[in-house]
Structures are given as structure tokens and as C-alpha cells.
């Protein structure tokens, strides 16, 4: 549904986005991850047709942004900007009503009521925006991005300023949007959020460093590790490490009462390793695939390569 192909964007001599390519399908949440200044907002703006790329193309359902198509394509996009950008002197309801009309929403009043209720703002609808808290403003900005029921949703830091409960509401909303077959791009550096909602993530730092499902990225970066937790540290764990080493386990690490290892052929070797441990007298409490937090993946991938000595 959304496609960015070899997209590059320069501001003067500075390259903000360099040859980035990815696609987001209908019914998919795509997390755009990266540190500050990595080009996330610029990428989103290019996806939303707000600024053109210097190179490459952005298409929505195969249609590129041109002078002729821009308005029609923007009508299909719900864009949460980096800052809420609300009209402070207008009421909550008026802020949404203006946007509903700008997007030519049929039955604008009903659409406004729908999103006000969705975000728990119905009781505050007659309040001027200046009276709202930061979190409320963020919710209102989200409501504004969705008032026209867009097929493509681009969200720049959607849970910034939100309390945990509202942040959860937003994540639930993203899941709902996914089931409604919307294509969603979430730009954030909140790894926890991405982990919870994104089907795939793209890690950017001017260039696209990595792309894939969080689990795949973990495996690509750290390899697949098996972890075996024991009831007691007896027999001694170094002895057990030696036993499983002989059974084919590699890079065996001891962590308290747990053994962590890389298995070249996990499906074949896992039963063998477990049997050897039991035979050696180990009492096993649990066996599972290790899942390093996405934060570790992120930090590992963003770490600058060490220069050769």
C-alpha cells in the first residue's frame, strides 16, 4: 500500500535520508526506529507527501505524489505530526470539525463525535484547547489524524506525553486499525512501544540499517540462543557446560543457574542437549529460546563499527 523506493532527501549539503526503501502493506504496523536526527520525521513527511524526495519515489497504492495526485493522496492519509499543532483558542470539537470539513468527511458531526468518544474527549468537547493537558492535546491530535477514517496512518511519536493508560489505549487503537486493514507507520524511539505493536521495524540512521520482524532482527543480530534454567547449581555448571559442549552446543555461557548456548541446528540438537544434561544429573526447570530485548538489537546495530587496529 505504501512504498518508498530508494528515497533520498538532502537539505543543502546535509543528507537527512539516504537511499531508504521499504513497503508497508494494508493491515500492517511498521515501526520506524532510530535515534534523534536519524531522518524519521523527514521520511514520514515524504511518505505523507509533505516534502518531495530528491531521489527515489514514494507511492500510495502504486500512485506517486505529483502536483495532480497530491491532494487526492493526502485525503487518504492520516498524519500525526511531531507537535500536536492545535488551535489553542478553539474548542476541542471545533478543532476536529474544521479538519473533518477540510477532508470532506460526509456526516462530519458524526465523525467528530466518533473520534471524541474513541479518545475519551467527549466530555471536554466544549473546552478550549489551551485548557487541556499535554496528554489530552496529544490525544486530540491523534483524533484529528483519524477523523477522516484514513487508509494510511502515519504517526510521529504517537505516545509522546501520554500517561501509561492512554498509551495503552493508543496501542490498542493501532491493533484495531491493523485489523481494519489500514497501513500504519509509527515513527518513534520508544523501543517498548515498537516491540508491542509493530509487525515489522525499520531501523534508520540516515540510511536503512536493518528491516524485518523484531524476532528476525534479534536472530540476525544475536543468533538463536537456547537457554536452560536449572533448579540448583548442582552438578557444577562448568561441568554441565562441558557436557553440552561435547553434544554440539557452541558459545556456552553460564548465567547464575542458567546455561545459554547457540545451537547450529536447534530442532535436532535441543532434545540431545536436554537428554545429556538430565543424564549428567541436572534438574531442569525450564527451556526456552532467548529473546534479547529489542533495545539490545537497536544498540548493537547503531554501534559504529570498530576501526581496524
Amino acid at each position: 500500500m505504501i512504498s518508498a523506493q530508494h528515497v533520498t532527501r538532502r537539505f543543502g549539503a546535509r543528507v537527512a535520508v539516504d537511499d531508504v526503501s521499504f513497503e508497508v502493506r494494508a493491515g500492517e504496523v511498521f515501526g520506524l526506529l532510530g535515534p534523534n536526527g536519524a531522518g524519521k520525521t523527514t521520511t514520514l513527511r515524504m511518505l505523507g507527501g509533505l516534502i518531495p524526495p530528491n531521489g527515489g519515489t514514494v507511492t500510495i497504492d502504486g500512485r506517486p505524489f505529483t502536483r495532480e495526485t497530491a491532494a487526492a493522496l493526502r485525503a487518504r492519509i492520516g498524519f500525526l505530526t511531531e507537535t500536536p499543532g492545535l488551535w489553542d483558542n478553539l474548542t476541542v470539537e471545533d478543532n476536529l470539525a474544521v479538519y473533518a470539513r477540510l477532508f470532506d468527511v460526509p456526516g462530519a458531526a458524526n465523525a467528530v463525535e466518533r473520534v471524541l468518544r474513541l479518545f475519551g474527549l467527549w466530555d471536554r468537547r466544549t473546552d478550549r484547547v489551551v485548557l487541556l493537558s499535554k496528554g489530552m492535546k496529544q490525544k486530540l491530535a491523534l483524533a484529528r489524524a483519524l477523523v477522516h477514517d484514513p487508509q494510511v496512518v502515519l504517526l510521529d511519536e504517537p505516545t509522546a506525553n501520554l500517561d501509561p493508560q492512554t498509551a495503552r489505549t493508543v496501542r490498542d487503537l493501532l491493533r484495531d486499525l491493523r485489523t481494519q486493514r489500514r497501513a500504519i507507520v509509527v515513527s518513534t524511539h520508544n523501543l517498548d512501544e515498537v516491540e508491542r505493536v509493530a509487525d515489522r521495524v525499520g531501523l534508520v540512521n540516515t540510511k536503512l540499517i536493518a528491516i524485518g520482524e523484531p524476532a528476525t532482527l534479534r536472530r540476525d543480530v544475536f543468533g538463536r540462543r537456547l537457554r536452560v534454567r536449572l533448579m540448583t547449581p548442582s552438578p557444577p555448571l562448568p561441568d554441565l557446560a562441558a557436557v553440552i559442549g561435547r553434544a554440539g552446543a557452541q558459545d556456552v555461557r553460564i548465567d547464575g543457574t542458567a546455561l545459554s548456548m547457540v545451537l547450529e541446528s536447534p530442532d535436532r540438537l535441543t532434545p540431545i542437549v536436554i537428554r545429556r544434561l538430565v543424564d549428567a544429573g541436572a534438574e531442569i526447570r525450564e527451556v526456552y529460546d532467548e529473546e534479547p530485548p529489542l533495545e539490545d538489537v537497536y544498540l548493537r546495530l547503531l554501534k559504529p563499527p570498530v576501526a581496524p587496529a
Binding site: F11, R45, G48, L50, I51, P52, A71, A72, R74, A75, I77, F79, T81, E82, T83, P84, G85, L86, W87, D88, N89, L90, D94, V98, Y99, R101, L102, F103, D104, R128, A141, R144
Partner: protein, 270 residues
């Protein structure tokens, strides 16, 4: 171009003015001044000094010259003709007042959106640049037009009440109608469009205001030139000027759309 989108943004602008009525105070103040000032000059001062304007030699010459160009002055007594001539010329002030006042509203318009970071969400909508800028211009124009019309009604009513007999009727001419009904609105629209164009390129509303107010100068020159008797602008010339200003407005819309760089606004405004 979708009128509904223009109306939606205009409505928002008007609601913002309503929530801060002080914003329209400059227009109100100027229209009040323009309504009352002619009566001070034409009615009150002669009464205070005891000297009729019609007895002033210069005014006699100017009015005599004007009578040849403005048929509405024919058949009036010398005093009434002098007053009618002057009240007609002071109508030009009603062109200047809304421009100066409304320009302050318009100058803040785009700069205010940029400063409040409210422009980026607006640019994510299907609204075109032309729709956005026309909505901004019309939103500044409408309140000033309403205030101007109220001022004009008061002006004409006071002329009927305070001026010499026949002066009120002499003001109701095709020339006056063209002046306040066509030239005035088109002059305002052109000035506002220019202000909005500048407003989209500067960081400070005062810059836009200062440059756009320069547009008032030609109108002041016309006013002074006519009162001094240098020339009299006839209905035909006023009509041509109105058409010209209408064309200038359309050109300024195209110019301001070309000048409005969405990208620069998004990327250089922090």
C-alpha cells in the same frame, strides 16, 4: 478549488477573531476615525470658526473644477457643493481604513500558524495552497468589510443629518457606489493578498504589515490630489481602477501561491 474547504478554514479564522476581539480593534478604531474626521473638517470647524468652506477661494476653484467632472454637484448651492465634494473625497478614507486595519489581521495569519506550529497539520490535508491563502485573505477581509459597511451607514446617516440640504442625495451616486462597492473591496483584497504572500515568507508579522501598508500610499495620493484640485477621478476611471485592482488581486493570488514554499515552512521553521 473547493469552496467548502475555503469556508471551513475561514470559519476557523473568524472563530479565532471572535475569541480574541482585540484583534479587530485596529479596524474598528480606524473606521470610527474615518467616519468622524470628515465631520470635524467639513461641519464642525466652519461652525467653530464661523467661516463657510464655500467662501474659501481655493475650495471655490476646486469645486468649480469638480462640477465639470462630477454631475452630482450640479444644482447645489455653493456651500452644499463644497460639502458634497469634500464628503465624496473623504469616502476614500473608507478604502484606507479597512486596508490598514485588516492588514494587521492578515499579517499575523500565516506567521501565527507557523509560530503556533499549526501549519504542518494543515498542510497534511487535501487543501491546496491557493485555497489556504484565499481563505486567509477572505477571513481578514470579511470582518473589516462588515465594520466598514457599518461605518459607511453611520457616515451617510450623519451626512443626511448634519450637512447642508441636498448633500446627502448628492453622495448617492454611481461614483460613490463604485468607490465603496468595487474599488474599496478590490483594493482591500489586493492589499491583503500581498500581506499574506509576504507573511508566508517572513518570521515576524510586523515585517508583512509594514510592507503591505505601503499599498495605502497610492490611495492617499489620490485623496490628497483630488482635495487639492489637481485632478478629479470620474466614475469611468474608478471603474477601470476597480477592474485593474481585481486583476491585480488574481495575479497576487498566483504570485502568493508561487511564493508559498511548503517545504521551507516545514523544514526551516522551528
Amino acid at each position: 478549488m473547493k469552496p467548502d474547504r475555503i469556508a471551513a478554514l475561514m470559519g476557523k479564522e473568524l472563530r479565532e477573531f471572535r475569541s480574541s476581539p482585540a484583534a479587530v480593534l485596529p479596524v474598528v478604531a480606524l473606521v470610527v476615525l474615518c467616519t468622524l474626521l470628515p465631520f470635524v473638517v467639513v461641519v464642525m470647524l466652519p461652525r467653530i470658526t464661523g467661516e463657510s468652506m464655500a467662501s474659501d477661494r481655493t475650495i471655490q476653484q476646486v469645486v468649480a473644477f469638480a462640477r465639470t467632472k462630477l454631475p452630482g454637484l450640479a444644482g447645489l448651492s455653493p456651500r452644499a457643493a463644497a460639502e458634497a465634494f469634500l464628503f465624496q473625497q473623504f469616502l476614500f478614507l473608507f478604502l484606507v481604513a479597512p486596508i490598514v486595519g485588516a492588514v494587521s489581521l492578515a499579517a499575523y495569519s500565516v506567521v501565527g500558524e507557523k509560530q503556533g506550529r499549526t501549519l504542518e497539520p494543515l498542510l497534511t490535508t487535501p487543501m491546496t495552497t491557493a485555497e489556504l491563502l484565499i481563505a486567509k485573505v477572505l477571513a481578514a477581509f470579511l470582518p473589516s468589510l462588515v465594520i466598514e459597511l457599518i461605518g459607511l451607514c453611520v457616515y451617510f446617516a450623519l451626512v443626511w443629518l448634519l450637512a447642508a440640504p441636498g448633500v446627502g442625495a448628492a453622495l448617492f451616486t454611481g461614483r460613490s457606489a463604485i468607490l465603496v462597492g468595487l474599488l474599496g473591496p478590490f483594493a482591500s483584497l489586493a492589499a491583503l493578498q500581498m500581506t499574506i504572500a509576504i507573511s508566508s515568507r517572513v518570521n515576524d508579522p510586523r515585517s508583512a504589515q509594514q510592507i503591505a501598508v505601503l499599498l495605502v500610499l497610492p490611495l492617499v495620493i489620490v485623496l490628497v490630489g483630488q482635495i487639492a484640485g489637481a485632478f478629479v477621478i470620474t466614475s469611468t476611471v474608478l471603474l477601470l481602477m476597480s477592474v485593474g485592482l481585481g486583476a491585480v488581486w488574481v495575479l497576487l493570488i498566483l504570485f502568493s501561491v508561487a511564493l508559498f514554499e511548503r517545504e521551507t515552512i516545514l523544514t526551516r521553521w522551528k
